[in-house]
């Protein structure tokens, strides 16, 4: 593997050096943490806004429209206007609701998605936390989000909310299994759960290609299951407009509602990033076998670009799903998981174990 030209660890290292030259180690850590925090805060907010904008544009183009184009160039500032509006919108207190839980719900949802985002490797050397259990950590943290949804639905004291919450509860927990199992497939292949190691193991080819058909099946299962887990169409039963008006966040207004909205998009980003990392090699450039020239050209593209290209490709696919398919019914949704995806991924794991055993993967 040729060394990557754009290694962020050199940059972060330099900053670290520079800071340590000025203050004591404790303060260095502190300053770094604050820096990371601010960066992430900014990134989180901007990313959410951008994803909302992107979704609008993608669906507009699919639907032969132009989408928002009157605020800023190409309507780029549209979501900022939305944010400003939502920020100064009245927050309606609901009578007879459990205020504490009602207010807690958006916190839980956002915390879950932000904590999960902490483990994403954005580029070489640009990863806030590199756990040796990375994949599992992301799963674990994102499984907390469902509590927020259940609380939101319950504490609103509204019928639509409650049905929406129950639905999404059953849905999210069910699909988490398939997500876990399809991630496990790659864990078996690469023999590690650390995201950075998984990426390293794809230096000579992405698991999607190296892993033969089972990896492909795992990828498809992951896409479907994670789409369902983040409550997006065609699995958006929790907020099925035509049945439950707005689902579990029916009673939320203003900025609290915005957080549910934001969390949905950030979660989409997270699953797309995980899919890109685990199946498509994360920030690894595309390398094909022995084509030295080609590989070198690919190396010139910065790793962060690779990461975002792949992630946004997956995001596009998820959006594509949403804007094409009708919504499933709750029982069909669970049937899909329990009778199709789960058995398929269980068998798939055995297949992969067999492959690995025989050493048939590259």
């Amino acid at each position: 593997m040729t060394p990557n030209l754009y290694d962020f660890s050199t940059l972060t290292g330099a900053i670290h050096e520079w800071l340590s030259g000025m203050m004591s180690p404790g303060w260095v850590t502190f300053t770094e943490l604050v820096l990371i925090g601010l960066l992430f805060l900014l990134f989180f907010a901007l990313l959410g806004l951008f994803l909302v904008y992107l979704e609008r544009k993608v669906c507009a183009i699919i639907q032969n429209r132009v989408g928002p184009n009157r605020v800023g160039k190409w309507g780029l500032l549209q979501t900022i206007a939305d944010l400003i509006k939502l920020l100064i919108k009245e927050l309606i207190p609901i009578r007879k609701s459990d205020k504490f839980l009602f207010n807690l719900a958006p916190f839980i949802v956002i915390i879950a998605s932000l904590m999960a985002m902490a483990a994403l490797p954005f580029a070489k050397g640009l990863q806030a936390i590199d756990f040796n259990i990375g994949v599992f950590y992301v799963m674990a943290v994102s499984s907390l989000g469902v509590v927020g949804i259940l609380l939101a639905g319950w504490s609103s004291n509204s019928k639509y909310s409650l049905i929406g919450a129950m639905r999404s509860g059953a849905q999210i927990v069910s699909y988490e299994l398939s997500v876990g199992l399809s991630l496990l497939a790659i864990v078996v292949f690469s023999g590690s759960m650390q995201l950075s190691t998984i990426i390293e193991s794809q230096a000579d080819g992405w698991w999607l290609f190296k892993g033969h058909i089972p990896a492909f099946i795992a990828f498809i299962v992951f896409l479907i299951a994670s789409t369902a887990e983040i409550n997006r169409g065609p699995f958006d039963l929790a907020e099925a407009e035509s049945e439950l008006t707005a689902g579990f966040h029916t009673e939320y207004s203003g900025i609290k509602f915005a957080f549910f909205f934001l969390a949905e998009y950030i979660n989409m980003f997270i699953v797309a990033a995980i899919a890109a990392t685990v199946f498509l090699g994360g920030w690894m450039p595309l390398h094909i076998g022995n084509w030295e020239g080609f590989n070198q050209v690919m190396d010139f593209i910065p790793s962060i670009v690779w990461f975002f290209v792949k992630t946004f490709f997956i995001i596009y696919v998820i959006m594509w799903f949403k804007w094409t398919f009708p919504r499933l019914r709750i029982d069909q949704l669970l049937t899909l998981e329990w009778k199709y995806l789960l058995p398929v991924s269980l068998v798939n794991i055995v297949l992969i174990a067999f492959l690995v055993l025989m050493g048939w993967h590259f």
């Binding site: 183009i61 699919i62 639907q63 032969n64 429209r65 132009v66 594509w320 094409t324 398919f325 199709y340």
Partner: protein, 160 residues
């Protein structure tokens, strides 16, 4: 065995039907020429309504500020929802007889349903449809209009 083969058939049949749908939307995604949006305020200069478009009722006046309305009241009678009110005056004409002329032809744009009965039944073709559709206002009273312009009078040849 049969049910198992059906299980897989269903699965693959389902996936291919989904793919068919995704092809349609995907095709439109990559062909931005299919965008049919007419960007309204931007295209105001070129936006042309059909000539028969019913935007509002107008009373055409010629350059001498003359119109054709005799004040007969037929349009008022024919309007199904009373959007037209006619106020007439009686003034002596050249021969000294009292004659009815229109004082105010009041038109409630806020109520008009653009059925066209008034235009069709007006015996002297004094009314026509205007093409303007930008009527939104902040104050409802702005929607009540007097169609005959101030100082206008009846075109003589229209009397025949």
């Amino acid at each position: 065995m049969n049910s198992i083969s059906k299980y897989f058939k269903d699965m693959f049949g389902g996936i291919s039907s989904l793919w068919a749908g995704m092809r349609v939307t995907g095709k439109y995604f990559v062909s931005p020429r299919a965008i049919v949006t007419q960007q309204y305020p931007e295209n105001r200069a070129t936006l042309k309504m059909e000539e028969r478009f019913k935007g509002e009722i107008i009373m055409p006046h010629d350059e001498n500020n003359l119109h054709a309305c005799t004040g007969c009241g037929i349009c008022e009678m024919n309007c199904p929802n009373g959007s037209i009110e006619i106020i007439t005056n009686r003034v002596p004409n050249a021969e000294g007889k009292m004659e009815r002329i229109i004082d105010k032809h009041i038109y409630h744009l806020s109520m008009c349903t653009f059925c066209g009965l008034c235009v069709k039944t007006c015996p002297s073709d004094a009314l026509a449809f205007g093409q303007k559709f930008e009527h939104a206002v902040f104050d409802r009273s702005k929607l009540t209009k007097v169609l005959n312009q101030p100082g206008s009078s009846l075109r003589k040849e229209a009397k025949k």
